[in-house]
């Protein structure tokens, strides 16, 4: 969790993304250093999901500069592909491939894109399954799993390609409350191991416990960001205060 390297692993400068006349991301700067966990929080429509999707090219930014692991996303398919082989992503709705077993879901990309042998890919896949607490589930199909289990398989699938950076797009937003902690537990372990993670989330407790930097976005801008707990304990901007208090009033304590 240290900022050991001067060069950020992921760097966004002045990134803009428009959909027609709607500006979803309006000049965002963000630096993520190795082994950091960065949480991006904010209301719906703030552009936080769009931002994270520009990092692996699922959205093409209209202006600004995005550099991942030294590769600049310059609009070429080659740069996008290079980044995708080094960046993993976990989606809100899991997006597992329903016609493949859990094992095949995890080994598909390593074997097809990274040239890993079947045996090697399956060995590592079983290791990852054990790591996310799903040992023995390799022959199951996604439809047989609960949401929390599917998401953990999705995390294993993202890890299987041995990425430098993991992107999480609201990983627990579609889960029943009782299984949210299972998934967050896996994510906390990854953070402890020093995996570089960027997490778009509504889970403030998780962000407070795990994030090295919390970034608050609203209406396409980064309103403020703070190291660790600072932003949550001591928000500087009025919009941040409003957002945090609206969440507090919605807690179920």
């Amino acid at each position: 969790m240290s900022e050991a390297n001067k060069t950020p692993v992921v760097s966004l400068k002045g990134v803009i993304k428009k959909y027609g006349s709607v500006v979803a991301v309006n000049g965002v700067d963000l630096d993520v250093y190795e082994s950091q966990t960065v949480a991006i929080i904010g209301p719906s429509g703030s552009g936080k999901s769009t931002v994270i999707r520009t990092i692996n090219g699922l959205e093409t930014h209209d202006a600004g500069q995005i550099i991942v692991n030294g590769v600049e996303l310059d609009g070429s398919k080659r740069s996008v592909h290079k980044v995708r082989t080094q960046v993993g992503m976990v989606f809100q709705h899991f997006n597992l491939f329903p016609y493949l077993t859990v094992l095949d879901n995890i080994t598909l990309a390593p074997r097809r894109t990274h040239g890993v042998s079947k045996h090697e890919a399956e060995t590592y896949a079983l290791e990852l399954l054990a790591k996310v607490g799903l040992a023995g589930f390799e022959t199951r199909f996604p439809s047989e799993l609960s949401g929390g289990q599917q998401q953990r398989v999705a995390i294993a699938r993202a890890l299987a390609t041995r990425p430098n950076v993991l992107l999480f797009d609201e990983p627990t937003s579609a889960l029943d409350p009782e299984v949210v902690q299972d998934v967050l537990g896996v994510m906390k372990d990854l953070a402890k191991e020093g995996v570089t993670m960027i997490v778009v989330t509504h889970e403030l407790t998780f962000a407070a416990q795990v994030a090295d930097n919390i970034v608050f976005m609203d209406a396409g801008h980064v309103v403020e960001q703070g190291k660790g707990n600072a932003l949550l304990r001591n928000p500087q901007h009025e919009r941040t205060v409003r957002f945090l208090s609206s969440l507090n009033s919605a807690t179920f304590e």
Binding site: P98, A109, E144
Partner: protein, 231 residues
């Protein structure tokens, strides 16, 4: 009645020929339709050449869904040899016409199947760095055929029925023989009844094969019979 039975050997051979024409046309049309269909489907990310290819495929679909298959057979068998010195054989003319005709419909069936795959899976495939071929084979193929098969089998049945049109260009298949037998024996009702039953049986066979294929495709995705209640 005896007269009719004399023709049974001839009829049987003709039925075999009908089946042969049907099988060749079904294979031709389905291979064509599936290949083009996988290119024709719209995806968020695709190779650059897909876009112009889609324009060409669209033209193909529009033309071949608008011309009656019999007219296509006329064009290929009579028209081509009248226009240029190359002549196309009877069987080829029928099979090519029907393949092009059915292919145009199969493209749409496949396209609908692919576009029914949830967008999120395509995004996951992209995020994992999977190329278009891997994506088509591992992510899209099974759900596509699970959705498209009923319509595809419907097209196969149409193909079998349309082979009867070949009688219009002089091909000796089941319908042609039936007409001949009717001419020779005067037994109108019985002859056409037998012909109808013949096509019915062939198409039942086609439908059965289709069902078996459908079952094989969906086999591994829905082995759950109970809902998993908790993590």
């Amino acid at each position: 009645m005896n007269g009719i039975v004399d023709f049974s050997g001839l009829f049987f051979t003709a039925v075999l020929y009908t089946i042969a024409l049907s099988v060749m046309s079904i294979i031709g049309g389905t291979v064509l339709g599936v290949t083009l269909g996988f290119i024709y489907a719209k995806r968020v990310e695709e190779p650059i050449w897909f876009k112009p290819a889609r324009v060409v495929i669209n033209i193909y679909i529009r033309i071949f869904r608008s011309i009656p298959p019999l007219v296509l057979m006329f064009l290929l068998y009579f028209g081509v040899s009248a226009a240029i010195s190359v002549s196309i054989g009877l069987t080829s003319a029928v099979v090519i016409s029907l393949s092009l005709f059915i292919g145009a419909y199969q493209v749409e069936n496949i396209r609908a199947g692919i576009e029914s795959v949830p967008r999120g899976q395509g995004e996951a495939a992209s995020a994992l760095g999977l190329g278009i071929i891997s994506r088509m084979w591992h992510v899209e193929a099974r759900p596509t055929f699970a959705v498209a098969m009923p319509s595809m089998v419907g097209q196969w049945v149409v193909t079998v029925k349309d082979t009867s049109l070949a009688s219009g260009i002089g091909v000796v298949e089941a319908t042609t023989i039936a007409l001949t037998v009717r001419q020779a024996t005067g037994e109108t009702w019985l002859v056409f009844l037998v012909l109808g039953v013949t096509y019915f049986l062939i198409n039942r066979g086609v439908a059965l094969i289709g069902k078996i294929i459908e079952q094989k495709i969906s086999r591994s995705s829905s082995e759950v019979t109970e809902v998993v209640a908790s993590a």
